[in-house]
């Protein structure tokens, strides 16, 4: 793919986004929708820029990010550990597998009321919900990644004198890294979505809470700002994970 093709791809990709903003602007400026329902994009962007420098708003972002990272980290630690162990030990797999099969398709948001009752309205219930939702994609992709490791690699390591218990860390884990990272990427997007939803349902701080407060007072501009912020956060975090991926997977045949 040459440089010109890439540029035209980029231009083509920007087109629908630009079109969307243009239609949005047109609807607003020709008066098809009152500004109270659909504020013009310029106003929303101005408001976003203004809010990003506001310390209260930064505080809300920090609260959301803290919950997101705490939940996501718990999911990564639990998911990778359980996934690896299940792939390595058949007896544990026999127990974990049916439980995961039941819990994975369960809509975790439905558990949120129970979490609220058990853990209260603060950080804990939201972090647990994020962890519960992000856990399964990470766990499953770790499991699949670890169980697809080529047997030849394990035999070679054993032939080279690697002790059995080290094979898990020296062969299986590195070989499963691409798959684990794919799971983490899915888990991260889910974390963004879930933390926002949890904050919308009940919270006293965070981006989701801002949206709900704005909705209750019919401040359309302030409803768009947290939505755009969470979308930007998702893109930035995804970019960071992508960077980590190409760093960790340098030297792998296909990334």
């Amino acid at each position: 793919m040459n440089a010109r093709a890439v540029t035209s791809d980029v231009l083509l990709g920007i087109a629908p986004i630009a079109l969307l903003i243009a239609v949005w602007q047109a609807i607003a400026s020709f008066g098809y929708a009152p500004a109270t329902l659909l504020p013009p994009p310029g106003v929303v962007l101005m408001r976003l820029a203004q809010q990003l420098t506001n310390t209260t708003f930064q505080h809300e972002i920090a609260a959301t990010l803290f919950r997101l990272f705490a939940g996501f980290s718990i999911a990564v630690i639990l998911g990778v550990t359980i996934g690896l162990i299940a792939a390595a030990i058949p007896a544990i797999n026999a127990v974990v597998r049916p439980i995961v099969r039941v819990l994975a398709p369960l809509p975790k948001v439905a558990l949120y009321p129970a979490l609220l009752l058990l853990l209260g309205f603060g950080h804990e219930s939201k972090i647990t919900l994020v962890a519960a939702d992000a856990l399964f994609p990470i766990l499953l992709s770790t499991y699949y990644g670890a169980s697809m490791v080529e047997q030849k690699l394990i035999w070679s390591a054993m032939a080279a004198g690697t002790p059995r218990r080290q094979i898990l860390f020296k062969v299986v884990l590195p070989a499963a890294v691409p798959s684990i990272l794919t799971g983490c990427r899915i888990g991260l997007v889910i974390s963004c979505i879930v933390v926002f939803l949890a904050e919308m349902i009940t919270s006293t701080e965070g981006l989701g809470h801002l949206l709900v407060t704005a909705a209750r007072t019919f401040q359309a501009v302030d409803m768009f700002v947290p939505l755009i912020t969470i979308s930007l956060l998702g893109l930035i975090l995804n970019g960071l994970l992508q960077g980590l991926r190409s760093y960790l997977l340098r030297g792998f045949p296909e990334v």
Binding site: S8, D9, V10, L12, G13, I14, P16, I17, L20, A33, L37, L38, R97, P98, I99, V100, R101, V102, A104, P105, L106, P107, K108, V109, A110, L111, P113, A114, L116, L117, L118, F136, P137, L140, S141, Y144, I186, V189, I190, C192, I193, V194, F196, L197, M200, I201, G208, L211, V212, A214, A215, F218, M223, F224, L227, I230, S231, L233, G234, L235
Partner: protein, 261 residues
């Protein structure tokens, strides 16, 4: 011997359910607070919910919305995804837009959509539609991209038109991947349904769940959790049956849906 093995693997999820309920029961007995009823108490509350005409209508209305949103989303997303997979122009046109909208929680659009369309059916169905579309588009896209060029060339050589190649070659070849996307979409439809009803608080299963939380009817809260959870597990199992029937020829993929969003 084989049938015994199959029996065990068929019963395993059921045993897991019983095990989880057992853990719940023990935990509730140990904690013994008002806000955490035992599993038995919650199970006992289920018949009274399903027997109540109004709640039953609410739950059925939720399922109807979900089915419509899911159906429309599939009909739009699969053709779009397939076209993206077969044409680089279409792919680079839609890809960035999809990437930007991916991390936006679809149910969070509910307040804005409610502002435009009101709290009625249309708003909720639209949100479910948006939630289901992305994974289905993405998986159809991946599936169509992986179709072997040679098959398309043979099709073209035998005189199939572009549309016929799409429906006779690309669609069947991408079907396993498409169905994976649909399965993810199905779970997502349920999640979006519950969340949108929690936010709009007018009718539906999510509304019953949160109203009973507000009113402190803890048995109902946990019973609704069981009902919604059972819906998720049941739909997923039914879809998996359908999937393995439709694409019996393909290599067995992951038997648990990998992604959700």
């Amino acid at each position: 011997m084989i049938s015994g093995h199959a029996l065990i693997s068929r019963l395993a999820p059921l045993l897991a359910c019983l095990g989880l309920l057992g853990v719940w029961q023990v935990a509730a007995l140990i904690l013994s607070t008002d806000s955490f009823p035992t599993a038995l108490e919650a199970l006992r509350a289920i018949p009274s919910i399903l027997g109540d005409k109004e709640s039953l209508i609410n739950i059925l209305a939720s399922i109807r919305r979900m089915a419509i949103g899911f159906g429309v989303a599939i009909m739009v997303s699969i053709p779009l995804g397939l076209m993206m997979g077969r044409s680089r122009g279409v792919a680079s046109f839609f890809n960035p837009l999809l990437m930007v909208t991916y991390p936006v929680p679809k149910a969070a659009l509910m307040p804005i959509i409610m502002l435009w369309l009101g709290v009625g059916e249309v708003a909720k169905i639209l949100v479910i539609f948006l939630g289901v579309s992305l994974p289905v588009i993405y998986h159809s896209f991946q599936g169509a991209k992986a179709v072997e060029e040679k098959m398309l060339w043979s099709g073209a050589a035998m005189g199939l038109s572009a549309l016929q190649r799409m429906t006779r070659i690309v669609l069947p070849a991408a079907l396993p991947e498409i169905l994976t996307g649909c399965r993810t979409g199905l779970v997502l439809a349920l999640i979006t349904m519950v969340t949108s009803e929690m936010i709009a608080r007018q009718s539906g299963a999510g509304n019953i769940l949160f109203n009973s939380l507000d009113m402190g009817q803890y048995d109902t809260v946990y019973a609704m959790i069981i009902i919604i959870g059972a819906m998720g597990i049941g739909l997923d199992a039914a879809f998996e049956k359908l999937r393995s029937r439709l694409v019996r020829w393909s290599e067995p993929g992951f038997d648990i849906p990998l992604s959700f969003a």
